[in-house]
């Protein structure tokens, strides 16, 4: 049965680990994200309309648009949900691996290159997923590549929070401040077989442009290369540091400062920030289109 967009938005959690983790990033992107929950509430907030008949009409058109598979919204939802659950599996595997291996402190000394490689692919796949989902939701707006990039660069609200979380939780925490340089050089040294072994990639590979894993790897590398500058600038401008992110998280995850490796895996399993903010982005865009079309 098709997923109901209004139920997904109504059932978004108001609290819990994902919401707390995202709120801990507020200091880097102040006031951008207010965890909009509830379908009608989102309609009222996005459009400023309060008339019940108007709200109902907007909601009905938004649902109609979402339910038409050809419009791409369902594909975007699938992408946001899959990339989170697939990377969560990676976290579970990494954590189980560490716990089975050694004691709590012992595994910190035993950092193997394997998880870092997985993390590198994870970050690249999530970034590409964002670009592909953007196109499914918004089309390719404008008349030129410049227009398209301008549109991508105009992220705000939950979208900019998703990018902050990507950079902080999947970049800075597991790989350090120089994560983008590290990831780029690592991904350039990879072959298609490295991708094929990765769960996150396997989860969404059908949606990544490219005829085969080699082509998809090329697309991922190019996408990373062209957004690296944006990410570096974002990290520098917002002052995102490993200790800054960990400080925010340590308020609700005790003792996280000394166990970064564990923290990365923990975030991977418990924080579904792509799905959470992805549903919010989807709802916002559907509503914006619906109210304009009515």
């Amino acid at each position: 049965m098709s997923k109901k967009i209004y139920e997904l938005v109504d059932k978004l959690p108001k609290g819990g680990i994902t919401v707390m983790a995202l709120k801990s990033l507020d200091k880097f992107v102040p006031g951008q994200w207010d965890n909009l929950v509830g379908f009608d509430h989102t309609i009222k907030t996005v459009t400023g309309e309060t008339d019940p008949a108007m709200v109902q009409a907007i909601g009905e058109r938004a649902i109609t648009l979402f339910n038409d598979k050809g419009e791409g919204y369902q594909r975007a939802l699938w992408l946001y949900q899959t990339v989170d659950s697939a990377s969560g599996m990676l976290g579970t595997a990494a954590l189980a691996n560490r716990i089975g291996q050694d004691t709590f402190l012992g595994f910190l000394k035993n950092i193997t290159p394997k998880p870092e490689k997985a993390q590198t692919i994870d970050l690249s796949v999530k970034l590409v997923t964002e670009i592909v989902a953007f196109c499914h939701i918004n089309g390719i707006p404008g008349d030129s590549l410049g227009d398209f990039l301008k549109s991508l660069g105009d992220y705000s609200g939950e979208s900019i929070m998703r990018m902050a979380a990507l950079v902080a939780f999947d970049g800075v925490i597991p790989l350090g401040a120089e994560f983008s340089t590290k990831v780029l050089s690592s991904i350039k040294g990879m072959g298609p077989s490295d991708l094929d072994k990765n769960r996150t990639f396997k989860g969404v590979k059908d949606a990544i442009p490219g005829n085969d894993s080699k082509g998809k790897l090329a697309f991922m590398t190019e996408s990373f290369e062209s957004t690296k500058g944006w990410m570096d600038k974002f990290v520098a401008e917002k002052g995102i540091t490993q200790s800054g992110v960990v400080d925010g998280l340590s308020r609700f995850i005790e003792g996280s400062q000394s166990k970064l490796d564990y923290l990365g895996a923990f975030l991977d399993i418990s924080v579904k920030y792509y799905e959470h903010t992805g549903i919010q982005t989807l709802a916002r865009r559907l509503i914006e289109r619906a109210v304009a079309e009515l």
């Binding site: 049965m1 098709s2 109901k4 209004y6 139920e7 379908f39 459009t47 400023g48 309309e49 309060t50 008339d51 108007m54 109902q56 909601g59 009905e60 058109r61 649902i63 109609t64 648009l65 339910n67 038409d68 050809g70 419009e71 791409g72 594909r75 670009i131 592909v132 196109c135 499914h136 939701i137 918004n138 089309g139 390719i140 707006p141 404008g142 008349d143 590549l145 227009d147 398209f148 301008k150 549109s151 105009d154 705000s156 442009p209 490219g210 090329a218 697309f219 190019e222 996408s223 062209s226 865009r285 914006e288 289109r289 109210v291 304009a292 079309e293 009515l294």
Partner: protein, 198 residues
């Protein structure tokens, strides 16, 4: 007599069972009907296959000026929208849509008493002002900030290339005759396909 007595005993139990079962399933939602109507086999498409390509509308949007910047935000079949940003924050959304997919959207202009640049115009809700070109293309300006007034909306509506949009209708009519003839050969609508960034 016996069946009636049994029924008397059974009835409350059945009522309880029914209540219990409805309580188990999710509470009814005011959107359940539209969900039902738009899913499953044979449901109507959200966008008419005759709708104009969204990209066609780009040329008719106003350009940024002064503190105002226009950023393309959505482009789908029959629809294009831009954000109007002032000093970096969004104050309004500008859109054009083909009402072929949604005839009710065009119908509301039949009772319009106002005109903007000669086209029938209506205020919708408290945040939107629209006009209709050639009975088909709806142009709308929607406030996203309380500082952006109804007068601002009318002002920006006039900045669109409405004459150009009106000519599109003529061209579309002509080409639709050809399209009708070669409908079977028409390419299916594809989702945007990404090309590797240069």
């Amino acid at each position: 007599m016996l069946p009636t007595r049994w029924l008397r005993r059974l009835a409350p139990m059945l009522v309880c069972l029914v209540l219990f079962m409805t309580a188990c399933s999710s509470a009814p939602n005011k959107y359940d009907q539209v969900q039902k109507d738009t899913t499953g086999f044979g449901k109507p498409a959200a966008v008419s296959k005759d709708a104009q390509k969204g990209g066609t509308f780009n040329q008719f949007f106003p350009k940024g000026e002064g503190d105002y910047d226009l950023v393309p935000s959505q482009e789908k079949k029959g629809f294009a929208a831009y954000k109007l940003n002032k000093n970096g924050s969004t104050v309004a959304t500008l859109s054009i849509n083909d009402t072929t997919s949604l005839p009710a959207a065009a119908a509301k202009y039949s009772s319009a008493t106002d005109t903007v640049a000669g086209y029938p115009s209506v205020n919708q809700g408290t945040t939107a002002t629209g006009l209709l070109v050639n009975g088909r293309y709806q142009v709308k300006v929607l406030s996203r900030d309380t500082s952006f007034s109804q007068a601002d909306r009318v002002d920006w509506l006039q900045k669109f290339d409405l004459k150009g949009l009106a000519e599109l209708e003529v061209a579309a009519n002509k080409s639709s005759d050809i399209k009708q003839a070669s409908k079977l050969n028409a390419p299916p609508t594809l989702n945007p396909v990404l090309q590797p960034a240069a």
